[in-house]
Amino acid sequence: MLTAFTGVIRRDLLLAMRNRADVLASVFFFIIVAALAPLGLGPEPAMLRTIGPGMLWIAALLASMLALGRLFAQDYADGTLEQMLLSPEPTGVLVAGKIVAHWLTCGVPLIVLSPLLALQFGLPAEQVTVLMASLLLGTPILSLIGAIGAALTLGVRGGGVLVALLVLPLYIPVLIFGAGAAVAQDPQAHLLLLGGLLAGALALAPWATAEALRIALE
C-alpha cells in the first residue's frame, strides 16, 4: 500500500518537475495578486496591516483553486486514471497520494512565499508566524476539498467554472478561520478549528474523491 502511495507522489512530483510552467503559473498568480493589492489599495500602513492576512489568504485560495483543473484531467485523458481504479490497491490511497503531491507543488510554495509577501503589508513578525501556521493547516484542506470538486467535474465541459461553484462554499469556513487567525487577539481557537477541519477532510476527502472518480469513469 505504501509502495503505491509513495509511487503516486513521486510520479506526480516528477511530472511537475518536467512541467514546471504549469506549477509556476499558480505560484505567480499568488505573487501577482498579493503584490498588486498594496499598490491598488494605497499606502496607508494601518489599513494594509488590517487587510494583509485576508488578502494573502484570498490569493492563496484562488491560486490553489486555479491548479485544481490539472489534478485529474491529464490522468483522465491518457487512461492512467482507469489503471488507478483497476489497481488492487485501495483507490482512496492512490487518490491521497495525488492530493499530497498537489499540495506539495501548489500549497507549500505559497506557505514559503507568504512571509516575503507579508512584508509588503507591513505585518509584524508574530503575525507572520501565525499566518504561516494558518496556511500550513489550511492549504491541505483546500487541496483535499478541491480534489472532490475536481473529480466530480471530470470530463464535464466548462468544468472550471463548475469546480469553483462546487468548491467555494466549502472553502469559506477555511478562509474565515485562516484569515481570522492572523488578526485575532488569541489565534489558538482559530488554529484549533482549522486543525479540526483538516482532520475531517483528511479522513473523508480521499474516499469521496475515489467514489467521484469511479462515477466519472463509468
Binding site: D78, G79, S87, P88, E218
Partner: protein, 240 residues
C-alpha cells in the same frame, strides 16, 4: 479459475447494446468479442473489468462477484483499453516503473528495460514517451503484459491490442499470447484482424445479432486454422 458472465445486459443512453449475454471462460481459453463499430465491444470489456456497471446480470471471478472480491480480482487481471495510459513527460522505462508501482509492485529499471527490449523498444527506452510514434506507444502500453508475466495475472482483457502495430510487433504479441495460454492464462479481446492464436479453446461472442441478444459460439478448429492461413497470407489493417 473461471471468469463467468451471467445474463449481462448493457444499456448506454437510450440504446440497449446487448442483453442475456452469458459465457464461462476457463484457464487457457480465449474469448474474442466480435461486432461492428459501436456494437458495444468496449462496453462489454469495461463491464468485465469492473469499470462500468451492467444494467443487470453479474460478472464472476472464481465463483464470486467481482465487486465482492475486488482486491483479488484486480491483482489477477490486467485491462488495457484504448487509452494507452502513457505519460508524455516520462521516459519510456519510467512509464513502466511507475505503472507497476500504481499496482503496488516495485519494478527495477533493468526489468523495465528488459520488457521494452522484448517488444523492440530497446533504444527507445531512454526516450520521453512524447517522442514515440503511435505504434511505439502501443508497444510501450503492451510492455506491461510482459512485466506481469512472472506475477499472477492469469486474466488479460485487451481492447484492440493489435491496433497501430506493425507486422513484427503483431508476431511478437501473438507469441506472447500463445505463451500466456500455455501457462493457463485467459484472454478476452477484441480485434478486427484475424490472427493466428492458439488457445486451448477459442470462444467468440458476436454482438451484431438483431434484437440485442448476444450469442456465444465456439470457434471450430478448422475455422480457426483457416483464419490463421488467411492472416498469414495477408494481414489486414483494422478499419477503425
Amino acid at each position: 479459475m473461471t471468469l463467468q458472465a451471467l445474463d449481462l445486459c448493457c444499456v448506454r443512453g437510450e440504446r440497449r447494446l446487448f442483453k442475456g449475454l452469458a459465457f464461462s471462460l476457463e484457464a487457457g481459453q480465449a474469448l474474442r468479442v466480435r461486432g461492428a463499430n459501436g456494437s458495444g465491444k468496449t462496453s462489454l470489456l469495461r463491464t468485465l473489468a469492473g469499470l462500468a456497471q451492467a444494467e443487470s446480470g453479474e460478472v464472476r471471478w472464481r465463483g464470486r462477484g467481482i465487486a465482492a472480491c475486488r482486491d483479488e480480482y484486480y491483482s489477477q487481471m490486467i485491462y488495457l483499453g484504448h487509452a494507452p495510459a502513457v505519460k508524455d513527460e516520462l521516459l519510456a522505462w519510467e512509464n513502466l516503473v511507475y505503472a507497476a508501482r500504481l499496482q503496488g509492485r516495485i519494478m527495477a529499471r533493468a526489468d523495465a528495460e528488459q520488457s521494452l527490449k522484448a517488444l523492440g523498444l530497446g533504444r527507445a527506452a531512454q526516450l520521453p514517451a512524447r517522442s514515440l510514434s503511435q505504434g511505439q506507444r502501443k508497444r510501450l502500453s503492451l510492455a506491461r503484459l510482459h512485466g506481469a508475466e512472472g506475477e499472477a495475472a492469469p486474466l488479460w482483457i485487451l481492447d484492440e491490442p493489435f491496433n497501430a502495430l506493425d507486422q513484427d510487433a503483431v508476431a511478437v504479441l501473438c507469441a506472447a499470447l500463445d505463451q500466456h495460454f500455455a501457462r493457463g492464462g485467459m484472454l478476452v479481446y477484441t480485434t478486427h484482424q484475424d490472427l493466428p492464436l492458439h488457445p486451448a479453446q477459442a470462444l467468440e461472442v458476436n454482438l451484431d445479432r438483431a434484437g440485442g441478444a448476444a450469442s456465444v459460439a465456439t470457434a471450430t478448429a478448422s475455422a480457426a486454422d483457416a483464419a490463421t492461413g488467411a492472416a498469414a497470407a495477408a494481414p489486414k489493417q483494422a478499419p477503425c
